[in-house]
């Protein structure tokens, strides 16, 4: 049950009501005050004060001041009139309830409206800000464009000026040349007549000058000086050849630094392939085409192994290895053959080689690696090198822990080791 606060005091003027509400030690915040047109409530749990106001007030403009242990309300009346009392005296419960609810609803509506209004103003502000920045950027861009335009126009003007100068210059020069031409023809004519009167100066000389002078007269724009100069040009060079050596390059394409590494690799691989094919060419000539294919040979070897012809299988694998020594399965299968033939050292060698070639330990070659380890382990054990054998078996187990056979064999070896250790 709330504790009602009833020690309020109030006074009024024509337009306003002043209400003072002491709070019995409670702290009030704006959230505790709820006011609508006809309903005023202050709720600070457990304290409660509510009043159904005599007449409607203007709740947007009314104020509440919190301080000094009480709240001071300034309520502006909607209609200026004197109130008989602060609250409606004869209010029954239902009416009270109704009024309360109404007030709450109204307050909510108001709150909604306010948020809406706020949103709208916010959007408008944003728009405005955006437009302002856009304008600024536009201005900046325009400024730069203008600078560039100015530069361009300046430069274009200069160009025009220069062009005109050129044209004028040319005209002037041609006029000058004509003048010079006339001037030059005179002394030249004199020289010619002189030369003619002297005997037999190289014919070439005179004929040349004659030719040139006629040309000069016809060609209005030509410079006489030029034709004289032509006489002074050296004769065409004596033809000769220079032999050139190029930095060797295998590829017909241009040299690029970034491709050099790739090209080296390619060449290397080509060399390797050629070497293999070319080695022992004499022997390989006897073989049929299919017998030169390492895969075919591997299959042949497998079949022979299955039939028990271990030596034949070994031969097949040997030939295959000669053709392509990078296939791990060849070594693996050859190891199995050697085991059967009790060539234990060879078996170990081959299994090791196979394992080497199976270096990236990925799930794909798990099977092969297990087999390699097992075969090597078996070989070691048969050589009575039980510890090494155990190592291999354990490696095999690590790869494939679910293989019962390997486990059993590993156990056996362990026992054997312990047995020998005990006995020694």
């Amino acid at each position: 049950m709330p504790v009602w606060l009833r020690e309020h005091r109030w006074r009024q003027t024509l337009t306003a009501v002043y209400l003072s509400l002491p709070l019995r030690g409670a702290r009030a915040t704006p959230a505790n005050i709820f006011c609508s047109e006809r309903y005023l409530k202050v709720s600070i749990p457990p304290f409660l004060f509510e009043a159904i106001l005599y007449a409607p007030i203007d709740d947007t403009n009314s104020t509440a001041k919190i301080g000094n242990g009480n709240i001071f309300f300034t309520l502006y009346k909607k209609e200026p009139a004197m109130w008989d009392s602060l609250t409606l005296a004869n209010a029954d419960k239902e009416k009270l309830q109704y009024l309360r609810e109404n007030a709450v609803l109204k307050a909510q509506e108001k709150a909604k409206e306010e948020t809406e209004a706020k949103k709208i103003t916010k959007q408008e502000h944003k728009k405005y800000a955006l437009e302002a920045t856009m304008k600024l950027e536009e201005a900046e861009r325009k400024r730069i464009e203008d600078l560039k335009e100015k530069e361009r126009q300046k430069v274009a003007k200069e160009l025009e000026l220069w062009k005109n100068q050129q044209k004028d210059g040319d005209k002037y020069k041609s006029i000058q040349k004509k003048g010079e031409l006339h001037k030059e023809i005179e002394p030249l004519k004199e020289r010619k007549s002189e030369k003619m009167s002297k005997t037999r100066i190289p014919n070439e000389g005179t004929s040349k000058t004659r030719l040139k002078s006629t040309k000069g007269c016809h060609d209005s724009g030509s410079i006489f000086a030029q034709s004289l100069k032509e006489e002074q040009l050296p004769a065409p060079r004596a033809a000769a050849t220079i032999k050139v050596n190029f930095t060797p390059r295998v590829f017909p394409t241009a040299l690029r630094e970034s491709r050099v590494a790739e090209e080296e690799e390619w060449l290397h691989k080509q060399a390797e392939a050629r070497r293999i094919i070319n080695s022992d060419l004499s022997e390989l000539e006897d073989l049929k085409e299919e017998e030169k294919n390492p895969d075919w040979l591997k299959d042949k070897g497998n079949k022979m192994f299955a039939m028990g012809d271990y030596l034949g299988a070994v031969n097949a694998y040997n030939l295959a290895v000669r053709l392509n020594n990078k296939l791990p399965l060849l070594y693996l299968n050859r190891a199995a053959c050697h085991l059967k033939l009790r060539n234990l050292h060879k078996a170990i060698e081959d299994s090791s080689k196979a394992l080497e070639l199976l270096t990236p330990p990925v799930p794909d070659n798990e099977n092969a690696r297990v087999k390699a380890h097992v075969r090597r382990g078996t070989a070691f054990c048969q050589l009575e090198l039980y510890t090494e054998g155990l190592q291999d078996y354990e490696a095999a187990l690590k790869i494939d822990p679910r293989n019962k056979n390997i486990e059993k064999d590993a156990e056996k070896i362990r026992h054997l080791i312990q047995g020998t250790m005990q006995s020694s």
Binding site: R152, D219, F246
Partner: protein, 360 residues
């Protein structure tokens, strides 16, 4: 890589551009004019020469000449200023010299090579330098030949592979060291990274080196002076600047190399008005403007007492990306400083102006 202060850096301004309906392989300014030539190959397998004139910000087509074979490269280097004949190399190995006023019949024609002429250069013309005008062509058949327009049918110098040796494509050629009537040098770059320097006066191989990547373009900073610098660009975005003043008996010429971008550097061209500035064009459609700075001492003595060159340093002045396709050809205008034309494989030719070059 140091760069000039932002506002003072040379800017590359795009002045005009022209979309073409053919692949343009080479573009050249016509000397003493505001006209430029575009050389290329039309879709139907014929060669095209188009003459444009720069009008304001536009290029106006003045003339179009079609030839039976696609044209790969051209030069004005060996012609006089009055004649301005264009020397071209085409896909079939023919060297032709055309009078653009009367282009039906070439002034000079020879089937110089068995395969496409990749690169051409001319020297002795345009009032620059001294000596006989000569044209050098480098071809896919591995030979480099020097021609004199006054001598028909046979080259005056032929640099060919030794008998029986497999040939490498010659991708680029350049003249240099033509400071008097006798001296002349040809530099050739090949696709296996070889750079060879041939001396035409002594008709011998003067120097060779290998820069580990196919050589796309070589150029001396000036053709008509005692050879000073040589820039060689290659695949993989590298270029080398060789100091050609001091040749060491075993080590050859000193060089500095720079890796500019990830793609091939197709061309290098020095600014005619300033031999220490050059522009490289790349396979990613970008142009880089570089400046070479000389070292404090250009040569020093090595342990045995022989002179050895010292290479300087290269700094990037500006770079700009114009296209998504390689820019295969580049030419500075010899008349207006900073004006250049570039042709790219996106079938566009662009006229650019590089500003503030006076302040470098």
């Amino acid at each position: 890589m140091s760069a000039a202060v932002g506002a003072e850096r040379p800017q590359v301004v795009s002045h005009a551009q022209q979309a073409l309906s053919y692949t343009v392989f080479d573009c050249k300014w016509v000397p003493r004019s505001a006209r430029l030539l575009c050389l290329g190959s039309a879709a139907r397998g014929t060669g095209l020469i188009q003459l444009y004139e720069l009008h304001g910000a536009r290029l106006e087509l003045l003339r179009e000449i079609e030839k039976p074979k696609p044209i790969k490269c051209g030069t004005f280097g060996a012609t006089s200023l009055q004649q301005r004949y264009l020397a071209t190399g085409d896909f079939d190995g023919n060297l032709n010299i055309w009078n653009l006023e009367a282009p039906e019949i070439p002034v000079y024609s020879v089937k110089g090579h068995k395969e496409i002429i990749n690169s051409i250069d001319g020297v002795g013309g345009l009032g620059i330098g001294e000596g006989a005008p000569e044209i050098v062509t480098g071809s896919r058949d591995g030979t480099v030949k020097v021609w004199d327009p006054r001598q028909n049918d046979t080259p005056v110098a032929n640099m060919e592979p030794v008998q029986g040796e497999s040939k490498r494509d010659c991708w680029t050629v350049a003249f240099g060291n033509a400071y008097n009537q006798e001296e002349r040098v040809v530099c050739a770059g090949y696709d296996n990274g070889d750079i060879k320097l041939f001396d035409l006066k002594t008709m011998s191989l003067r120097w060779e080196t290998n820069i580990k990547n196919g050589v796309c373009s070589v150029e001396f900073d000036r053709k008509d002076i005692n050879m000073n610098k040589l820039v060689a660009t290659s695949l993989e975005g590298k270029f080398h600047v060789f100091d050609m003043r001091t040749q060491h008996p075993t080590k050859g010429f000193a060089s500095v190399s720079e890796k500019a971008q990830k793609s091939t550097i197709w061309q290098v061209r020095h600014l005619p008005q300033n031999r220490d500035i050059f522009m490289t064009s790349g396979g990613s459609g970008s142009l880089h403007l570089w400046k070479y700075e000389y070292p404090a001492q250009r040569s020093k003595k090595d342990s045995e007492g022989s002179e050895m060159g010292v290479a300087g340093s290269v700094s990037l002045l500006q770079n700009v990306t114009l296209s998504t396709q390689p820019i295969s050809s580049l030419d500075w205008s010899p008349d207006k400083k900073g004006l250049c034309v570039c042709g790219a494989f996106d079938q566009t030719v662009r006229v650019l102006i590089v500003t503030k070059l006076n302040k470098i």
